[in-house]
């Protein structure tokens, strides 16, 4: 099977993620979509690593996972405080800052 399909897949995943960020309201879901995009990038890294035949890409993907984990920590912290103070996780409710 042609390896470039993995790239298409990652592209598709990335797009799905991006669309998700734009269309979904729930902060958690939005955040998950971001994670999806990160993983799309990971997939790309690994694929390229495979194509180019060196390990840098795979190393990169490990770093990404770690960083993503940290992001989850910070992100959830923020979202949870949001939720506690507003009793809602909808990003559209968080629109006091405007104009």
């Amino acid at each position: 099977m042609d390896i470039s399909n993995y790239l298409y897949l990652s592209a598709i995943l990335f797009t799905i993620g991006a669309i998700g960020v734009v269309v979904r309201r729930n902060a958690i879901v939005v955040f998950m979509c971001v994670e999806l995009m990160l993983n799309a990038a990971n997939l790309a890294f690994v694929t390229f690593s495979r194509i180019n035949g060196n390990l840098d890409g795979q190393v990169a993907s490990f770093f990404t996972m770690v960083v993503a984990a940290c992001e989850v920590v910070v992100g959830l912290a923020i979202i949870v405080t949001m939720y506690r103070s507003r009793r809602s996780a909808s990003v559209d409710d968080a629109s006091l800052l405007k104009r």
Binding site: V21, V22, V30, K98
Partner: protein, 628 residues
């Protein structure tokens, strides 16, 4: 030849006027005396210079005095230096002489005015400026005096400017003169562009190399200047209103001296006009038109001063016409200028004296039979009258006859037309002057009993007497042995051009002229045997028009004033709505965009994300386009 005294002619009156103004009320007591003495002193200097000049040979007579370098930029070199030659000495004597007489007259005439000191300061300032005008050795120096006398005339016409109409008259005079000044400025510019010099000598030296077109342009501009200053057609309209000034002013400035500056300018620039027949033609046309124009107005005026003003206008028309006739004419023009200076000044003073007696009544219809109560005024005025209408052997006869004569001798149809015009003018002059005499001094008294006409004090009638003598004698004096013409010849007619053709013998001309005068007088006497106190309304359309100065003001208003006002108002709007409006529009657009940008910042994180996505896509798209 140089002389070191010329500067006093200007400095003395200039500083005395400044002094009198700066002193303020402190000088009220003696200011008028001081000013008069200064003027007399100037006359003294003038006479001594004349004596000195007279004692020198013909070609040695001109003297100069270099004061300091005024403007020097590149080749544009103008020195403040003075030139006194046979031409200017005539003016110096006229100005300072008549000027002094009028100073004396004014002491009494203005005695009741609390601003008398200021009046005399102005008078001295005028003397200074007028002398600078005739003494400057370059057109630019002349220009300074030219505007100076304009200013003096403005100040003096508006001397009683608390009366709005008087203030307006003053402004009108200044503006009309400015129009003339445009001519003078442009003339100077042309002179510099053509000859690289603006001194009389420099221009004279260059004339031969210049193109006729240039000389014509130069002449035309000078004529425009002259028309402005000397109230010639089409810039004549201010002179009538200028009578708002105190009568001595009318006598000095608006009869004897300033208004004749135009004639001086043209005769002084003889070398230019000699070079361009077209320019000369323009001059005679203007002169001819004006002399009839003024005369016609004169026939309809009931205001004694305005009637005299109209006559001044017409008489200067004569001079201009004469000076337009080339070398033979210049001297004659000057002669008429001098004689006119005497008799017209005398008559204005007479008019002033009458007004003085009639507590400032100017309407001749309210005069009548004044001759009995004011014998001296009547006598002096009468002599002036005889002079102006040209009865031999009075002054006007010599000068005016000469003009008519050379006008006929101009040759061809031109000669016929000009001669006819001058002749007709003479007739009309006789008519309106007689009308004036009759309405004022003869007939039955028409003034109401409140007025107590009385002879004026000696300080007033003395100058009148002197001037009367002048208007009797000068003509004969100047004419005997062509003394004046020969005196002026080195300046005005260096290569002794003789009158070309001779259409008629002088004696014929004289008799024709006399005939015209007699006709005029007779007509007037019959017509004005009885004068209604109220000006009759059922008069010919011609009289109506003449009363309104032949519609000259109406013309100016409709053609110049109204459009000007409309233009101004329009431009003010343009400035606000168009030019500034454009700037405001830009501002509005920017702030509008700004508000829009604020709106799209709607606070929804998802739409921000959307904007980012779109941005990213745009990024890819463009790079793609560039890459492929």
């Amino acid at each position: 030849m140089t002389s070191s005294h010329l500067v006093y002619l200007i400095a003395l009156p200039l500083f005395s006027s400044a002094f009198l103004i700066l002193m303020g009320r402190k000088a009220d007591k003696w200011g008028h005396i001081f000013a008069t003495l200064i003027s007399a002193a100037v006359f003294g200097v003038g006479v001594s210079e004349f004596m000195a000049m007279h004692s020198r040979a013909g070609d040695m007579r001109a003297v100069t005095q270099h004061l300091f370098s005024w403007i020097s930029v590149g080749t544009f070199q103008v020195d403040a230096s003075l030139l006194l030659d046979q031409l200017s000495i005539c003016f110096v004597l006229l100005i300072s002489g008549v000027g002094t007489l009028i100073h004396i007259y004014s002491i009494a005439y203005m005695s009741h005015d609390k601003d008398r000191r200021r009046f005399f300061a102005y008078l001295n300032f005028f003397i200074a400026a007028m002398l600078l005008l005739v003494l400057g050795d370059s057109y630019l120096n002349l220009y300074v005096g030219w505007e100076g006398v304009g200013l003096a005339s403005y100040l003096l016409i508006g001397f009683w400017n608390q009366k709005p109409t008087y203030a307006t008259a003053a402004k009108k005079a200044f503006v009309a003169n400015r129009v003339g000044d445009v001519g003078l400025s442009l003339a100077i510019m042309i002179a510099f562009a053509q000859f690289g010099s603006v001194t009389f000598d420099g221009v004279k030296a260059g004339v031969h190399g210049a193109s006729p077109a240039a000389l014509t342009a130069l002449g035309a501009m000078l004529l425009l200047a002259a028309a402005g200053k000397s109230a010639q057609f089409p810039l004549q309209s201010w002179l009538g209103d200028a009578m708002a000034g105190p009568t001595p002013v009318s006598a000095l400035i608006h009869a004897a001296t300033m208004v004749t500056a135009g004639v001086y300018l043209i005769t002084r620039s003889n070398f230019i006009f000699d070079g361009s027949s077209t320019a000369r033609l323009l001059v005679v046309i203007v002169g001819g038109i004006t002399l009839l124009f003024g005369a016609l107005i004169g026939t309809a005026k009931d205001d004694i001063k305005k009637a005299l003003a109209a006559s001044t206008m017409s008489q200067i028309g004569y001079m201009i016409l004469a000076s337009g006739l080339g070398p033979v004419g210049y001297a004659i023009a000057i002669m008429h200028l001098l004689t006119h200076g005497f008799f017209k000044a005398g008559m204005f003073l007479g008019a002033g004296s009458v007004m003085h007696g009639m507590d400032d009544e100017v309407n001749m219809r309210r005069y009548g039979a004044i001759g009995k109560v004011m014998p001296i005024t009547f006598a002096t005025f009468g002599l002036g009258y005889l002079a102006i209408i040209g009865v031999p052997p009075f002054a006007g006869f010599y000068s005016k006859d000469k003009i008519i004569e050379i006008a006929f001798n101009a040759g061809g149809t031109k000669g016929i037309i000009l001669g006819g015009a001058t002749l007709l003018g003479a007739a009309i002059t006789a008519f309106y002057m007689t009308r004036l005499m009759v309405m004022t001094f003869a007939g039955s008294k028409r003034w109401d009993d409140k007025a107590h006409p009385h002879e004026s004090p000696v300080l007033m009638w003395l100058p009148m007497v002197v001037l009367a003598i002048g208007s009797v004698a000068t003509g004969f004096l100047f004419n005997s042995g062509n003394s004046l013409v020969n005196w002026l010849a080195p300046v005005l007619n260096p290569n002794n051009v003789e009158s070309g053709s001779e259409l008629m013998k002088p004696i014929v001309v004289s008799s024709l002229a006399l005939l015209a005068v007699i006709l005029g007088v007779a007509l007037a006497v019959t017509k004005y045997r009885t004068v209604p106190v109220e000006a009759p309304e059922d008069v010919s359309i011609f009289t109506k028009v003449a009363r309104r100065d032949l519609l000259q003001d109406a013309f100016n208003e409709t053609v110049l004033m109204r459009p000007g006002q409309i233009l101004t108002a329009g431009l003010v709007k343009t400035d606000y709505f168009a030019i500034d409006g454009l700037v405001r529009l830009i501002g509005a657009v920017v702030s509008g965009t700004s508000t829009f940008l604020r709106r799209i910042q709607n606070g929804y994180v998802r739409s921000y994300a959307l904007i980012m996505v779109i941005g990213a896509l745009a990024l890819i798209a463009t790079i793609w386009v560039v890459t492929l």
